[in-house]
């Protein structure tokens, strides 16, 4: 893949044959992998920063939906038109069904156990950098 890009940019008299389909596939998978990793990272930061149990669930849900689905989309780009792509589509569908079920199960268990959610406006505490 890298060789293809290098060949496309290298100055040469003879017409270089570029497989545009694989170039688009590579670019698409790179973009969606980067975006997916960004959402997974943001979800992780959210789990650490948010104040209580219920609010942390929201950040974890972000990792489940866009993060995981975008990474799966990147893998679909990589595998092209093959049986592996169909398997990845199945994985994506199952993830869309199971992840809200798991999130709801955890939230419902906390509610049943009587965990009171933190309500009202919340701001991150100021960090004292002077010391």
């Amino acid at each position: 893949m890298i060789e293809l890009v290098l060949a496309a940019t290298a100055p040469s008299e003879s017409a270089v044959h570029i497989d545009w389909l694989s170039v688009f596939r590579f670019a698409g998978s790179l973009i969606s992998l980067a975006a997916g990793l960004f959402f997974v990272l943001a979800g992780t930061i959210g789990v650490i920063r948010l104040p209580d149990f219920y609010t942390r669930l929201h950040a974890a849900g972000m990792t489940d939906t866009l993060g995981a689905e975008l990474i799966l989309l990147a893998l679909m780009f990589q595998s092209g038109f093959s049986q592996m792509t169909l398997k990845l589509v199945l994985v994506a569908i199952f993830l869309l069904i199971t992840s809200p079920t798991a999130t709801h199960a955890v939230a419902h268990a906390a509610h049943e156990a009587g965990l009171k959610p933190l309500l009202g406006p919340y701001k991150a505490p100021e960090v004292d950098e002077g010391t």
């Binding site: 920063r49 219920y54 939906t65 398997k87 939230a107 406006p121 991150a124």
Partner: protein
């Protein structure tokens, strides 16, 4: 019932071929045996009805998923912005969302859609409303929930009027 059995067999054949990918006689025979066994189980459990093999509403469900995906992307952006901003201003809230859907499948579709959208989690399901925990104040707007409720009910074949 015969029609749902036929649709179920077609779906099972497609699933088997997707996951296996081998066309050796032995493996195909094993596939046929498994499909017959699953069909027998479904018949015995008396779940060969329209709710189990709900393929009649498949085009509606797919077009609903497109709309839901756009909503998920929008909600993700809002949550990312809130979480990554230095002051992180969130206002968690618990709201009662009315769930006037008649069928069980429409209710579960609605509750799952709420949970799937980041920033809102359905915590408890009571007879006519869902208890929802919302992360940001702009996510607890009743009109948005009402629109999602109508659309998710439409996706599984229950008409609740216009959006």
């Amino acid at each position: 019932m015969f029609r749902s059995a036929l649709i179920l067999v077609l779906a099972l054949v497609a699933t088997w071929l997707t996951l296996s990918g081998y066309f050796k006689p032995l493996l195909l025979k094993l596939g046929v045996i498994s499909i017959c066994f699953v069909l027998f189980l479904c018949f015995r459990m008396r779940i060969l009805d329209r709710e189990t093999a709900a393929y009649g509403t498949l085009p509606r469900t797919l077009s609903y998923f497109v709309w839901l995906f756009v909503e998920i992307v929008k909600a993700n952006m809002a949550v990312v912005r809130a979480v990554l901003s230095p002051s992180m201003e969130v206002s968690p809230k618990v709201v009662k969302v009315p769930a006037p859907q008649k069928t069980d499948i429409a209710k579960s579709m609605f509750a799952n859609s709420i949970t799937l959208t980041p920033g809102t989690v359905s915590v408890n399901m009571e007879s006519d409303h869902i208890l929802v925990h919302a992360l940001l104040s702009e996510m607890s707007d009743p009109a948005d929930f009402a629109e999602m409720g109508v659309r998710s009910a439409w996706a599984v074949g229950e008409d609740m009027g216009d959006v």
